[in-house]
Symmetry: C2
């Protein structure tokens, strides 16, 4: 006699996850149709739909209507969009403070910059973003390229998890970043910081890159200056 404690959709979720692992499904593979899954598992279609919705929320699959090879539930991998939603909501609930997010970002960025410098990573994306920033006409546009710049550093670190976290942090704090840029007014200090970071990475000096990043963040958010280790 098994006690009924898990909801049906959780059961469906577990079975789908098991199928992913056992069958070695990977990005691009298709799941059976909703009605088919429901019949196979002996549950209603609504339970299947709720399970699929969860997977979609976690950035693991995406649903397409219509017919053909591209239709249906396809396994994907978008950890950053899922992380962005998660952070945004928890920031909205005031269970996380901006301080914590920025501290985390500083930690990620110090690590990424040092790693990028140590591995002599490709810096062309950084150069592009820098040019975009210098040509930006508004704070919003500036922040857009600024985000690209900092995400490019994370990408250059070669760690996709850290890059995904960085991207989510930036997305969920976009509003505050725009405020910070507007508060500063003159972006020349930020430009100098960015160049400093770029040259440190290109010259392969991890310690200098770390220092440059820390300086930059303390300029952008002076209220949260450097008692970080």
């Amino acid at each position: 006699m098994t006690v009924k404690k898990t909801r049906t959709f959780e059961d469906v979720l577990a079975q789908i996850e098991r199928r992913i692992i056992d069958d070695g499904l990977t990005v691009g593979d298709r799941l059976p149709a909703e009605r088919q899954l429901a019949e196979q598992l002996g549950v209603g279609r609504s339970s299947v739909r709720e399970a699929l919705r969860v997977l979609e929320t976690l950035g693991v699959l995406s649903s397409q209507v219509g017919r053909g090879p591209d239709a249906g539930a396809i396994l994907t991998s978008r950890p950053d969009t899922a992380l962005t939603d998660l952070l945004r909501l928890h920031l909205g609930l005031a269970t996380l403070e901006l301080r914590e997010v920025i501290e985390t970002r500083l930690m990620l960025e110090r690590w990424s910059a040092a790693r990028a410098a140590a591995t002599r990573a490709d810096t062309s994306a950084l150069v592009d973003a820098l040019a975009g920033m210098e040509a930006a006409a508004s704070a919003e546009e500036f922040v857009e390229h600024d985000t690209a710049f900092h995400c490019a550093i994370a990408d250059a670190s070669g760690n996709r998890l850290i890059a995904a976290i960085m991207r989510s942090l930036r997305d969920s704090m976009r509003r505050y970043a725009v405020e910070a840029v507007e508060r500063l007014g003159d972006p020349s200090l930020l430009h100098a910081d960015h160049h400093h970071i770029l040259t440190a990475i290109r010259s392969g000096d991890p310690d200098e890159a770390t220092r440059a990043v820390a300086d930059h963040l303390s300029h952008a958010y002076p209220a949260l200056f450097g008692d970080t280790p």
Copy 2:
């Protein structure tokens, strides 16, 4: 004429999020009942349910059946369970490699230990976990207290976002941690490492704490030794 491109549940999601922000809802507050929400928003109950499922997946609310003040959809804040699911699934899809997760964990832990040392944080939870580890009879039990130890370090850092990420990383790698402990056989080296970390934190020496954490990780996962900056 607005084009119908967003699905109904996404619309519901946006309205609920808006309500959270506008009404200043916070943890512990209740959302209207599913049927009420459906009627208020002019949509079907299934769409409301899918939206609530998404919020539940993101760790923002929890649903209770029955009646009374504790029943219904209650706002919560469980970023770590959501993050755990996310990481576990993406690890299963092989879009993230174990190396990336462990690198991230090392980064988090170096930072947390240094911060805990610098702020002279309370270390009683660390002591408890240490005792549990030394009394552990099996690898599983050992890992359980080991997880508690490392999460306590993250908690002691005073940054809840970093603590949540740490907890999720540990949970999603539990299987590999057990393997690592079994591979080592003799846990005395790990015990020494843990004591080293604890003393460094208690003596308020951030650099020593950082070093101790890095040493520990390189012992536990020798295959991924220290080319980390």
